[in-house]
Symmetry: C2
Subunit: 306 residues, 2 copies
């Protein structure tokens, strides 16, 4: 039994009101697998990098018990590169550079040793590639979580809708939920989206927390109010990785477990934004996480009896 | 012992994507006192109306055990009138008409029978008028809650800062907290604002819930996700009224009681927006409120042990 994470493994160059980085390692696959590694120790990564990708970063995956047999290294080619600049509110950003490089022709190869996968995290990538991964698994995983973004709704909506039919949980932000459903009310948006395939919908609202929708049930998780947000890059991927890592740890797919998984994912995401890139989420301890999750408990607890 | 509510008692004409009203009764004092009336039965209203204000509306206050001895009726004059149009997102609106009328010269007279006030709700009004009310009370109330808005920050900041020093709880929205503090981060904004006078700060975030700050503690309350928001007018006043009504009911001023008070205030606000004007919050039952509060409990409960 294992947790398979697919997503970009890449370079980012980031500018925020707090500073600027050169090329640092990022990518949905990187953030999600690192976050998941704090909850589960059989994580298998599928992705592609160029020969410019540092071995030390691959060593760091191994230190986190992340299997990289499925991480293809394309000699003579370059890794995916994204550069962006955040506005003062940290909620919006401009993309400065996107170089697809190895990601442009990415064919996700699933090693035989990955076929025991019971939990699948489809990090943000083209829905066509996400779908290929599902099809190449001999047995359907117990839980498939899919992350996506408005970019794919704009250029590959048909593929996206096709892939959606094959997954259990979709994670998108509030604007994307509105775009996908054509409904402004998030309740109405959720009602539509859960008929498109995923039985569970998680709407990520950044500093306002997250909402989980399933059947007629809703769970609202707060975000931890932070004094400083240095770099929001990867927060959504980290959230998703923490979420599915916790679910894999628990084993059973239920609404109750997902509520806790959202709190753990939110806790990991709150660490992610406190430093640039993966610096913070590479270096957490179990105690850090327990203490942070207790902050979420204190933050949202009140004493009206049910 | 009583709860004194001061605020506008007025006419509104409202246009939302769901419809349009003629002049209907509104105003901060109206919404706040009606909301508080579900928790506490000694509510005393201070305000001013013109002779155009219908007796039937005053009778409705009485039905809710709201004392109107302090509601001045100015013969030959007209009540305050506001007209606004909400945009499709319901989060922003344009003011179409503001006629101050009787509110332009409002001198808040406190009847002797109101001097037993232990809880004071200063609904959104000029900070000068709010301050006058505090000064005219012979004994300082146990809890003073002040609501205000960006309008007063723009035109009467000095008065506002002076009044702030005299209150215990300030309720404002996130943009107003940023404007008042000059800080984008709400955590930093709160740290500054709680040095300006109020030891407690409530930041109202509309569909994203509310945050309570006190010393180093934070409480995050969710908003109930609603399929339809017909009319947001008065939601903030209703929230504040429900909040202080619950606090007066409990009697003791504590962070723990305030957390519950925010949930009750949020529940009342969630009813308010489901119909135009005061229609919904005039006609609630205790059972309606208990059931709605249980929705908040279910919405935010998870099972990580503290």
């Amino acid at each position: 039994m294992s947790l398979l994470v697919i997503g970009s493994v890449a370079f980012d160059a980031i500018e925020t009101p707090f500073g600027k980085t050169d090329k640092i390692v990022g990518g949905a696959g990187t953030y999600a697998s690192l976050a998941a590694s704090y909850f589960y120790d059989k994580i298998k990564l599928v992705g592609v990098v160029g020969e410019d990708f540092p071995q030390s970063e691959i060593d760091d995956f191994h230190k986190h018990h992340i299997d990289t047999e499925g991480l293809q290294i394309k000699m003579g080619e370059k890794s995916f590169f994204w550069s962006g600049k955040y506005h003062n509110d940290m909620n919006s950003r401009d993309t400065l550079v996107t170089e697809l490089n190895v990601l442009g022709t990415f064919d996700p190869i699933i090693p035989d040793s990955y076929q025991d996968c019971k939990f699948l995290m489809l990090g943000n990538l083209s829905p066509q590639v996400q779908q290929t991964v599902i099809k190449r698994l001999h047995n359907r995983p117990r839980l498939i979580v899919m992350d996506t973004m408005n970019f794919w709704m704009n250029i590959a909506l048909d593929d996206l809708l096709e892939t959606l039919k094959m997954v259990d949980v979709l994670t998108i932000n509030d604007e994307e939920a509105r775009q996908l459903s054509g409904e402004y009310s998030l309740v109405k948006a959720a009602r539509k989206i859960v008929t498109m395939g995923p039985k569970y919908l998680i709407i990520k609202k950044g500093e306002h927390g997250a909402l989980l929708f399933h059947e007629d049930k809703i769970f609202a998780a707060p975000a931890l109010p932070l004094a400083e947000v240095y770099d929001p890059t990867g927060a959504g991927d980290t959230f998703a990785g923490g979420f599915i890592g916790y679910m894999a740890h628990m084993g059973e797919v239920s609404f109750e477990n997902m509520k806790n998984a959202i709190i753990y994912g939110s806790a990991l995401a709150s660490f992610c934004v406190e430093k640039f890139g993966t610096e913070k989420i590479k270096n957490l301890t179990k105690d850090d996480i327990v203490a942070r999750v207790q902050e979420f408990v204190r933050l949202s607890k009140f004493n009206i009896i049910s």
